[in-house]
């Protein structure tokens, strides 16, 4: 009798404890806060104002970090709202040169390369407010001023998490201050559609574009080199996007496989027929393909 009572107590205790500890001790399913977050954010802030884009002038990087942190620490990590980052945006804001805004969906690495770190275009990640947070993860916890390094909530667990709300606020700000010719780079090989709804561009950027500041919207739909041509200008979700923008009163143009971007995609597929240059006579390894204007080439 005593033994079986003891066993049930142990059993109940074990079950009780198990319901509290998640996998590996983390509360949430997503990656935890990036290590050394403060040093990275502050370092990137100074990197940006001293080296990447000194034209933005003097900024108080410690204050920017404090404002960033205060947006989400000591709060329920599932109750962080975009406007919690208002002070951070005010301190890190700078104007975006006209005709340089580049919006995108489903091609982040491509956009990074194409923008040229702000020299050709200034994507959100090339602004100070986007630069400091790019590729980082962060979240806090209720009733504690510490950052959670073990895990952070995913979108599925809750939408109003620190990272999601940050990018919603940053995207809205970026769109609000974009002017001149606006460019949008979409991926024509994605199964969900080149223009995703819901999506950042659809929900946080288009609604914040300023009609009186935007002269034209140029859409580029680019397929992966070896990917399927699922969508193009005038079809499916791209058509939906074009119509939406036109209805809003914007002057819209759309181009398939814009050459400049194609060349960038071709870097990984230099021998694909889509990437063959008519002036080029060599295969990637240097072996001669055909006679051409360059006669003294090859292995020495």
């Amino acid at each position: 009798m005593m033994k079986s009572l003891f066993s049930s107590v142990v059993l109940v205790s074990v079950l009780f404890m198990n319901s509290f500890s998640e996998v590996q001790g983390g509360k949430w399913k997503g990656e935890g806060t990036t290590q050394n977050l403060e040093s990275i954010v502050i370092g990137r802030c100074y990197d940006y104002i001293r080296i990447v884009n000194p034209a933005v002038g003097e900024k108080n990087c410690s204050a920017i970090w404090e404002a960033f942190k205060n947006a989400f620490i000591n709060k329920d990590p599932c109750n962080i709202l975009p406007d919690d980052y208002e002070l951070f945006i005010n301190l890190s804001f700078h104007t975006i040169p006209p005709n340089k805004s580049l919006f995108w969906e489903n091609n982040q690495l491509l956009v990074n390369s194409f923008a040229g770190r702000g020299r050709r275009y200034m994507s959100l990640a090339d602004t100070l407010f986007g630069f400091v947070a790019d590729y980082l993860t962060w979240c806090g916890q209720a009733n504690s001023t510490g950052l959670d390094y073990e895990s952070c909530p995913t979108m599925e667990e809750c939408e109003n998490n620190a990272v999601e709300s940050f990018w919603r606020k940053a995207s809205a700000t970026y769109a609000q201050h974009s002017s001149g010719v606006i460019h949008v780079l979409l991926n024509g090989s994605v199964v969900g559609g080149a223009y995703p709804e819901p999506g950042f561009f659809a929900d946080y950027e288009i609604p914040n574009l300023q009609k009186d500041k935007v002269s034209r919207i140029v859409i580029w739909v680019v397929d992966d080199i070896e990917g399927p041509d699922i969508e193009s200008c005038g079809t499916h979700t791209v058509k939906i996007l074009e119509n939406r923008l036109k209805t809003l009163g914007y002057d819209v143009t759309c181009t398939d496989n814009y050459k400049s971007v194609m060349f960038l995609l071709c870097l990984d597929y230099p021998d694909d027929s889509k990437c063959a240059l008519s002036s080029s006579v060599f295969s990637v390894d240097g072996s001669l393909l055909s006679d051409g204007p360059f006669t003294d080439m090859g292995t020495i």
């Binding site: 100074y46 990074n112 240097g286």
Partner: protein
């Protein structure tokens, strides 16, 4: 404080270096997790602070080099000369190759400057010596040493991107590549050297693979027992050059599936 001709130490150098170190280790190469960024910063600072900036030696940088160097995977080293813009755009778009500026040491130091001064606060934010003012300045000594170590670390196939549109010749013995890197490649580790000789799109074709300075480079390398190949306008890099010159005749695509905006 002494007065020099080049720009001074980058303001907030400590924050920039620390941030880059953590970014590189945590966000880009987590397998380097054992790097102590604070120690790395301290060793950089002690290499030049309070010292006469014309008197810097490689010994000054030894602790930093020890802490910050890391192994490079074989076949990925990419050396370069007079092709800074395109070579770094290439490695950012194609993670198959690494220049010195893609290693932790180069990443931290790229586009940043520093020099010391014997008077307080020991760091000169106003100006730093140019090479013409004195050779043993903090920047020149740093890059020479880092380049030497980068070459020493290379294994397998080594790639080199040179500029065939430069009047003075694609290969110059006075460059860091020509004076330091080629002499520090280890013939026991490096099997081949592949030269990519790039011409500017629409630029002069001052030199090609059979050119005079390339022949000189070839003989220096062959004497050290390296096998050498050379390609004019290595296609993937030329494609990258075409991103900014899509309508140039050199960038005409064979297929007609593309359109200009």
């Amino acid at each position: 404080m002494m007065k020099w001709k080049d720009r001074g130490t980058t303001k907030n150098l400590q924050e920039v270096i620390l941030g880059r170190c953590y970014s590189y280790v945590m966000a880009r190469y987590p397998e380097l997790g054992d790097k102590d960024c604070l120690k790395i910063w301290e060793s950089l600072k002690h290499a030049f602070i309070y010292k006469n900036p014309c008197n810097i030696t490689s010994e000054d940088y030894e602790p930093l080099m020890e802490l910050a160097t890391h192994p490079i995977p074989c076949n990925k080293s990419l050396l370069w000369s007079k092709t800074s813009d395109v070579v770094h755009r290439y490695t950012k778009s194609n993670q198959n190759f690494l220049t010195l500026e893609d290693t932790l040491l180069g990443y931290m130091a790229d586009r940043v400057s520093w020099c010391g001064d014997p008077s307080d606060p020991g760091i000169n934010y106003e100006s730093c010596p140019k090479r013409s003012e004195c050779e043993s300045n903090p920047s020149s000594v740093f890059w020479k040493m880092a380049s030497k170590l980068f070459a020493e670390a290379a294994c397998g196939v080594v790639q080199v991107m040179l500029n065939g549109s430069v009047e003075a010749g694609a290969f110059r013995s006075s460059s860091i590549f020509g004076s330091i890197e080629i002499f520090n490649l280890n013939p026991d580790k490096v099997s081949e050297v592949h030269i990519w000789l790039m011409h500017d799109i629409g630029g002069p074709q001052s030199e090609s693979c059979s050119g005079h300075s390339i022949k000189r480079l070839k003989s220096i390398l062959e004497e050290r027992n390296f096998k050498i190949t050379c390609v004019d306008n290595y296609r993937p890099v030329q494609l990258l050059q075409c991103v900014h010159n899509p309508d140039h005749t050199d960038c005409r695509l064979c297929t007609n599936t593309t359109a200009t905006p």
